[in-house]
């Protein structure tokens, strides 16, 4: 099977970012940082048309989980592309963009926009959590 994520690596080059690969038998994976924040890209070998770009953040200590879910829901209603979800066992919040593509080449010209919307979603999520405290 061809390397689904080569085009994403090229998009990261376009953005002037470093990235590392961590592939295994199940998936192709890229990790990278932008302005110090960590992101990942995953494509599964058995589902070559699926690509996911995301970032994970720790929830602050003492956050009311139900309130955090409300904030995530509000973002899910409003934001294009991004799915915001709480990973309760880890006390993390995940922001992901899930795409169905014929080839990751299709993602390359839009990669900057997707990265911006991921970044903005995380900023808005934590701003909304703080505002409502």
């Amino acid at each position: 099977m061809s390397d689904t994520l080569k085009a994403i690596e090229a998009a990261l080059e376009d953005e002037g970012l470093y990235s590392t690969r961590d592939d295994d038998d199940d998936a192709f994976r890229i990790a990278f940082k932008s302005e110090g924040d960590r992101y990942f890209v995953v494509a599964y070998r058995d589902d070559p048309s699926f690509v996911m770009i995301g970032s994970g953040w720790a929830l602050p200590e003492g956050v009311d989980t139900l309130h955090a879910i409300d904030v995530a829901n509000a973002l899910n209603v409003r934001k294009k592309f991004v799915k915001t979800a709480l990973w309760q066992e880890e006390n993390d919040v995940l922001f992901t963009v899930e795409l169905c593509v014929s080839s990751a080449v299709e993602v390359r010209p839009h990669f900057g926009r997707l990265l911006n919307v991921l970044r903005d979603s995380a900023t808005e999520f934590f701003d909304m959590l703080r505002e409502d405290e």
């Binding site: 002037g16 470093y18 940082k33 302005e35 110090g36 900057g112």
Partner: protein, 151 residues
């Protein structure tokens, strides 16, 4: 001990970004570091003789019809810590912030805030320039047509 240029370059690289660092004037210790973020190239100027200061700039190409250096007065008023200049015969609009601190480490701690400051101010100034030029052009077109009796 690392130079200021190397300290700042390593920080930006550590944050995930490729950096092109070039000494500009070895006598004065001035260097320029270029990196990209959010689709925009930023330039950082460091000076080995002044370890507590740096400048961050970004440039925008502006079309000939929008080259009016007085069109960004609102952005100037709203972002007093950012200076705006025209370069390359007015084809480039440059937004710059100069920051002073007690040390390079202190500058680094607020690095992305400074980048955001320049980005926000520059984007607003460009928007003002284009808006004003477009609305002015539209108004002139309308007035000219009206005066000529087309409408």
């Amino acid at each position: 001990m690392l130079s200021v240029r190397e300290t700042v370059a390593r920080f930006i690289q550590g944050e995930g970004h490729k950096v092109d660092a070039t000494p500009i004037d070895p006598d004065s210790g001035t260097s320029e570091l270029l990196f990209r973020t959010r689709g925009q190239v930023f330039s950082v100027t460091t000076n080995e003789k002044d370890t507590g200061s740096l400048s961050i700039s970004t440039a925008y190409e502006i079309p000939e019809w929008a080259r009016d250096e007085h069109a960004n007065t609102e952005a100037r008023a709203e972002h007093p810590r950012v200076t705006f200049t025209l370069a390359h015969d007015g084809s480039l609009f440059v937004a710059t912030t100069d920051e002073e601190a007690d040390s390079t480490e202190e500058l680094i701690r607020q690095f992305w805030i400074l980048v955001a400051r320049v980005r926000d101010a520059g984007a607003q100034a460009i928007e003002d320039i284009v808006d004003r030029t477009e609305s002015q052009a539209a108004a002139e077109k309308f007035i000219n047509s009206f005066m000529m009796g087309d409408r």
